[in-house]
Symmetry: C2
Subunit: 209 residues, 2 copies
């Protein structure tokens, strides 16, 4: 069904963006869209969208466009979020609190199931219904619970050590909020949440005044 | 010097990512790089990097690659972050606290200079050295201080009203952490911080187990 060409990372990186745009369209009550309409929303080209999707099969009909619900379902399957991933959160500071309470995760396939911190004053307290565990037990809890996905929300100084423990425990996907580049073995995915990149994408358009 | 072709949004969106990668290289002690090396780090192609940069001029020498410090300087100029942008932050909850204390902003051209919330218990309190102001005065403070950049860190239910006030006050670039799509007039930039998109980029690579 799907083609067997290896999928470039850049193509994979665009799929969740397509999924988000489709969700917004669905929320607006739209049922069908086109690669042209999607492209216009996202500031890209219809050719790129069609080419990206062609790695995975045929999702639209010639001249008919895409059925939004179906394409969303297929993207969720391709991205492996047609299931729920349990997630470990490391760092129970302000950002950790915000993430633990973030309402956007559960509907999209992610649920924070364990929270860690190394501050004795925080360990044992409750956050978003979870007991904050001692980071010293990070590796063993990760391994025991077979967690594959983790979020790092600790200061930059501690982030690499946390990443090392996560990987040792079996984590294979890390979302890193600490402003440093992590060194991880091949086969472990890392993504960075970097508000500066987003801000700089906008200041380009601000005139000198 | 720079060409006069209009720059596609998708090209602009990649420039801060190039800048980040160059900063990481500089931190590693590298002085010179190539479009090939940059491409490998970023999972893209050297042709795309060269084409993207060609919108703005010639930054490397044939066979010599790019001088990292110079290219960083030029990207900062192009992105208008060779100066400091004062930023308004709306929302003094957990996420707002984390953002107000985020050490990554000042070195990259951004400084939070005003914080707002609509909670009477928070108004008047201090956060990261700033007095939390009443959101009711958002528009007038934005206009008086001539702020062009703002960050929304309020719940989804209040985000559109905040965006409206920001725009009315003169804001032209909004970084939105609330999980909703904002409606803004043409000419106002919006970027979304969406951890789900990042997580989904990684689950693609996680096998079924």
């Amino acid at each position: 069904m799907a083609s067997q060409k290896p999928v470039p990372r850049i193509v994979v990186s665009r799929l969740p963006v397509y999924l988000r745009a489709l969700q917004h369209m669905a929320q607006e009550g739209k049922v069908v869209t086109s690669s042209q309409e999607l492209a216009q929303r996202l500031g890209t080209t219809s050719a790129q969208i069609r080419k990206d999707l062609s790695y995975f099969g045929e999702f639209g009909r010639q001249g008919m466009g895409y059925e939004i619900g179906y394409l969303m379902q297929q993207l969720r399957r391709i991205l492996h979020v047609d299931r729920e991933w349990p997630v470990a959160l490391v760092g129970a500071g302000d950002l950790g609190h915000a993430l633990a309470n973030y309402a956007g995760f559960p509907p999209e396939g992610f649920r924070i199931v364990a929270v860690f911190d190394n501050d004795p004053k925080k360990i044992g307290q409750t956050m978003a219904g979870l007991t904050i565990q001692d980071s010293a037990h990070l590796r063993e809890v990760i391994a025991r619970e077979r967690l594959k996905v983790a979020i790092i929300a600790v200061p930059a100084s501690g982030a690499q050590a946390v990443a090392d423990e996560l990987v040792a425990g079996g984590v294979r996907a890390i979302l890193n909020y600490a402003p440093i580049t992590l060194n991880v073995p091949e086969g472990v995915q890392v993504q960075y949440v970097d508000p500066v990149v987003h801000l700089q994408r906008m200041t380009f358009y601000l005139d000198d005044e």
